[in-house]
């Protein structure tokens, strides 16, 4: 295996993108990534498309996008890992380059969720688990799955609905500054969140990420090419991948996502760090906050803090910029939006920009001390999990951040 670096990133505006079709939306991200890397389609040897679909018209999105973006006749495949589809696409492109099968590859994540009416989308996402045993008879919804975790977590650790609303407030705060975010310009208060209607008690509308159209793209190259293309390659140093049971009833507890824990364990092991107090090693992180409870569990599954202490990070505002570990400075899924297949690639774009220190406005640029970043992307309700570690260094283990 050889080193793999990100040398180009592109990101479409997230939101209700009824002004573009699937190919046009993907092209916004692909074009920006090519320009960022100063590469041409002919340089891309392989591309992979992350798209869940079902709610959108094209059943073969990879070839539709390949044609529209001028990537033919290069090889491709479409991958699916529910809400972690984007990270699966990134992982697939990473493997292609690391193994030597390609020197330059592109990962594209794209989702058009507004091609179907909302009831159809709700129906589809509710089936994201074990369809036969948990949807067909019991009508779970996506917020419903996470609500099962929130109830158990609140009961076990005496967390309150207000605690969780603070996560939403933080992510809206940063999303409001991100022009690519669905809720750009829209901050919320704890009170607004608490007064929003329940969608699956105890989860409220403002605890939830929205339905989103969006696309993101990254270009990955081998270590031989990286420095010829850019002065600031961002290295993909480690990827951890794991799964959880399809049936939620087969989980042993409902206070954390085992798949995310396992993926983190693998990712940390590969770069030689222990799976505890891990906030010390990363300047910034993007975690999967499809619901506010998911962000809190992520802090603990990733070992930023111990089980049950995630809520303290929220109460003490330690995941804002300047805190112990800044999380979701792009707005997260909550405020940036969650176009299922694009989210994981969008995280790669954001971590790259954070490490390059090129985020605008500067109020959402993390301070970069050690040059390491982490992305945590969950598919379904811990059905799939991907933890990806990024660094400005090609070699060596993460170092502990300086004391503030």
């Amino acid at each position: 295996m050889r080193g793999v670096a990100i040398v180009g990133v592109g990101h479409a505006k997230f939101g209700r993108r009824t002004d573009v079709n699937l190919g046009e939306l993907a092209w916004e991200a692909v074009k920006e990534a090519l320009e960022d890397a100063r590469l041409d389609q002919k340089d891309i040897q392989y591309f992979v498309v992350g798209n869940v679909g079902g709610w959108s018209a094209e059943p073969l999105p990879a070839v539709v996008i390949g044609e529209y973006c001028g990537l033919n006749p290069k090889g491709t495949m479409r991958v699916e890992a529910a809400c972690a589809t984007g990270s699966a696409a990134l992982y697939n492109a990473y493997l292609a380059v690391a193994s030597g099968m390609a020197d330059i590859a592109m990962a594209i994540g794209v989702e058009k969720m507004y091609e179907s009416p909302t009831p159809t989308v709700v129906e589809f996402i509710g089936r994201a688990g074990n369809y036969f045993w948990e949807f067909e008879n019991f009508g779970l919804t996506f917020p419903g799955y996470y609500a099962l975790y929130m109830t158990a977590y609140m009961n076990r650790f005496r967390a309150t609905e207000e605690d969780f609303c603070r996560v939403a407030v933080k992510n809206h705060y940063y999303g409001s500054m991100n022009p690519k975010a669905q809720f750009y310009g829209l901050r919320i208060t704890v009170d607004q969140c608490l007064k929003s209607r329940y969608v699956a008690w105890p989860i409220k509308l403002y605890d939830s990420s929205p339905i989103t159209d969006g696309a993101a793209a990254v270009i990955l190259v081998s270590e031989e090419l990286a420095r010829k293309i850019t002065d600031t390659p961002v290295w993909i140093r480690s990827v951890g991948v794991a799964t959880g049971t399809a049936n939620l009833s087969r989980r042993s507890d409902f206070i954390g996502l085992d798949a995310a824990y396992q993926a983190a364990e693998q990712a940390f092991k590969r770069v030689g760090i222990e799976h505890r107090d891990t906030w010390r090693y990363f300047d910034v992180a993007d975690v999967h906050d499809c619901f506010t409870i998911a962000e809190v569990m992520a802090y603990e599954d990733l070992g930023f803090v111990e089980r049950g202490m995630g809520i303290q990070l929220v109460r003490n505002e330690q995941t804002y910029k300047g805190g112990l570990i800044p999380v979701n400075l792009d707005g997260g899924l909550k405020a940036k939006g969650h176009p299922i297949g694009a989210t994981g690639v969008s995280m790669a774009v954001e971590m790259t920009k954070q490490l390059r220190q090129s985020v605008e406005p500067r109020d959402r640029q993390a301070d970069i001390h050690v040059g390491w970043a982490l992305a945590h992307n969950v598919g379904g309700t811990g059905h799939y999990a991907y933890v990806t570690l990024y660094s400005l260094d090609k070699d060596g283990s993460p170092k502990v951040k300086p004391k503030r």
Binding site: T18, P119, V122, V199
Partner: protein, 181 residues
């Protein structure tokens, strides 16, 4: 309770198709502005309906059990593992040698939620509680919890798993009720 789910569903699509036909008639194209009146959308003239058919041949004993008022799990004869939902293969022993065992029905609530925003195909039911309970045998079951007062539901409460008829469809399934009921 008003319209049945089929009627609601048909009404939802009938309205969309009616509007589509009017637009085509007036303009010669199935193109109209989006919900917010901002951008032009082509409204699909082809419909795709999905209703799947799923094999239950090898677990039919489970469904026969429901008819007798019993809820079965499977248990591997070699390793003793319980399976619920029931399955006929033990991937760990690589055997298909299972006992069908009736579940005691005694459980303790691990967690629950009330579904307020329902999928369209569930829109004809009142808001429902989905719960997961640990059964005495050690495995978990996910089902609806039927209670008179949702405010009284607590993690840790004792529940009983029983066969029920899901109305208005009238098919057999299973549900939790509080143990003292």
């Amino acid at each position: 309770m008003g319209m049945s789910v089929e009627a609601r569903y048909e009404e939802f699509w009938r309205q969309s198709i009616k509007q589509l036909n009017e637009v085509v008639k007036a303009t010669g194209l199935p193109i109209a502005p989006d919900e917010k009146g901002q951008y032009n959308l082509w409204y699909d003239v082809r419909e795709l309906r999905l209703r799947f058919s799923i094999s239950v041949e090898r677990i039919k004993r489970f469904f026969e059990g429901l008819k007798e008022g019993k809820i079965y799990a499977t248990r591997c004869r070699r390793c003793g593992r319980y399976y619920f939902p029931p399955q006929i293969d033990c991937p760990y022993c690589k055997t298909s040698d299972m006992d069908w065992v009736e579940i005691s029905g005694e459980g303790e609530l691990l967690t629950y939620t009330m579904i307020n925003t329902k999928p369209l195909t569930y829109s004809h039911y009142p808001d429902y509680i989905v719960a997961i309970a640990r059964m005495r045998e050690g495995f978990n079951v996910l089902a609806w919890l039927r209670v008179n007062d949702p405010e009284k539901v607590r993690v840790g409460m004792k529940v009983k798993l029983q066969v029920t008829r899901r109305e208005p469809e009238g098919y057999l399934t299973y549900e939790f009720v509080p143990a003292e009921q």
